[in-house]
Symmetry: none
Subunit: 194 residues, 4 copies
């Protein structure tokens, strides 16, 4: 299918796109969200400020895209992944150094700017929910979906982002165990699950 708009003028460079997003991630890791500067990003990317502003209107927009760019493949867990694998994917995504500051900062902005809120919802919260939903389907928990999302994603965020601790295997197992229906009944009554 051909592009509906023949697009006049010189086309935008894909290489430039990449350079900018890379620079954003570097600056995020190095300086954090607050101290991240469009000027600095442009400089690091070897690009004019205008070129950045031509593509993104807001620092938040830019950061969301930069983070999603690396998160996306991590979110894309294989079809037949086990609950452990799915949870691990989520943890790995949020454990990326650039995600650390970025994620919380963006959410913080979202509390005040509805445009950021929408973008965050679509590109960050949504995919996370998908992962958790796939996970819960496999586990077969009795807990309500919404609450489950808060429990699982919340635990991960709290552990990894808020407390800055590692989400190791023990954490994964414990978390899954905590939301599994067979949790104690099983262990005590020996009935056994699936």
């Amino acid at each position: 299918v051909t592009s509906p708009t023949p697009r006049r003028g010189r086309p935008r460079s894909a290489a430039t796109d990449r350079a900018i997003l890379d620079a954003v991630r570097a600056q995020l890791v190095e300086h954090g969200y607050t101290s991240l500067t469009i000027e600095g990003v442009a400089a690091k990317a070897g690009v004019a400020k205008t070129t950045v502003y031509r593509r993104w209107t807001t620092k938040a927009d830019l950061v969301v895209d930069a983070v999603v760019d690396t998160l996306a493949p991590v979110f894309a867990a294989p079809e037949d992944a086990s609950p452990e694998e799915l949870l691990r994917a989520l943890i790995d995504a949020l454990s990326l150094p650039e995600a650390r500051t970025a994620f919380l900062a963006v959410i913080s902005e979202a509390a005040v700017d509805p445009l950021v809120a929408e973008r965050a919802e679509v590109r960050l919260i949504g995919p996370s929910r998908l992962l958790v939903d796939r996970c819960s389907a496999k586990v077969g928990t009795t807990i309500d979906g919404d609450l489950l999302f808060d429990l699982v994603a919340g635990a991960v965020i709290h552990r990894v982002l808020v407390r800055g601790q590692q989400g190791d295997d023990a954490f994964v197992t414990g978390l899954l165990d905590a939301v599994s229906p067979q949790r104690h009944g099983l262990a005590e009554g020996g009935v056994g699950g699936s």
Copy 2:
């Protein structure tokens, strides 16, 4: 106990302190953390910039204090509070409009600035943990303390701050139920009784 150093010269005005912190909260609600400006705070408080800088060195510091200032009484749940009440206290604390942006933004900063991290740990994370610990003691859960903290605080943060949803009674009940040892035992054995 009197201050060991009688501190010569004109004493700092307590009214000024209050005016500044009030201004910070107002700006937080109105503009969010990123757009909050010391300059703006000073103006709104009817105070010189110097006066603000004399007391707080960092925007993060200032915000933490402003938020803790309103959070503290909420955190101080009565000795004999029930788990529900304790959880509600935590939710209410984080549901304050000024806490919305502030909390996440500060944590985001903490990821990059160790001084902020420490202050956040002492004044925000710590008290939260206390609440959750008191809560778990009453519930008598079998879940490991660390994980429990992530589960409970995480769920609340995710629900209230990340998703911006209400933490109503159903949520409180569901959450407590999810981490209670009797959860399924109950359902299976029919013994029940909270």
Copy 3:
């Protein structure tokens, strides 16, 4: 005479030339030299920036051409014109609204940029000098040519451009009278006028 090189490819549009120069004059009158932008000219002329740059390398160049374009016919006084008519031609040329800012600005630039100086000399100063010389030949003044040029052109420029006043008939008569040899002799000896 045809161009020696028949120049292949699509020829430049004369209409485009006109549109650009018209736009330049309009912008000059409206915004002055300093605030005139190539971007704005191109926009007003409904032309791509490239098209302007293909013809003129410098803002000064462009402006000189635009002004000369309207000045030329005014400079071209008939062979047998009287001194009054010649002077009037000069005044009329410089009184054109677009000449107001342009002339002085270009001269100001010339003080610093030799290329502009040359162009100004050839296309602005030179023709003026011609007019004044023709004028003095008819009047038969005894004043040195160089000084006369400064006196006459200077007076016109000062009156019209610097002070922004009208160069009316009284001014023309007075000026001619001041540089005429018979000036006072006349008045005293009663010999008679022009």
Copy 4:
């Protein structure tokens, strides 16, 4: 007399004023009016941009002040100066290298911006007129004051600024001679011309 307003806050530094105006003059000579940059001036003066903007709102304003600053002493010819000395003062004032671009550029701007026009009138045109008037009073010319102003100031401007030529003694003598009442009386008396 003490300042009526006790002026609170830190007072402006006079040294900074001087540094800025010096920088302006340097930039004028080096780059001309058009290429003069507030950013560049601030840099050369070793001063923050804000500090410049706090004192002058417009590039034209700044340049007028910078030029007047050096012109003023030149304009202040002694009470008992001869016409030659007065004229020389005017020529010297306009011959200052920084005056070259600045004067014409400011007048060019004045054609479009009334605020600049007023400032130019008060601080540049006015003082010049004074000089010429004092001159004509001594010479006792019969030429109308307005025309005389155009003739004398115009000739100087044309010679020095427009044509960029030196205003030497011969020029001064010739100019004075041309506007003196005795000019041709002499010539008629049989003495002969220059």
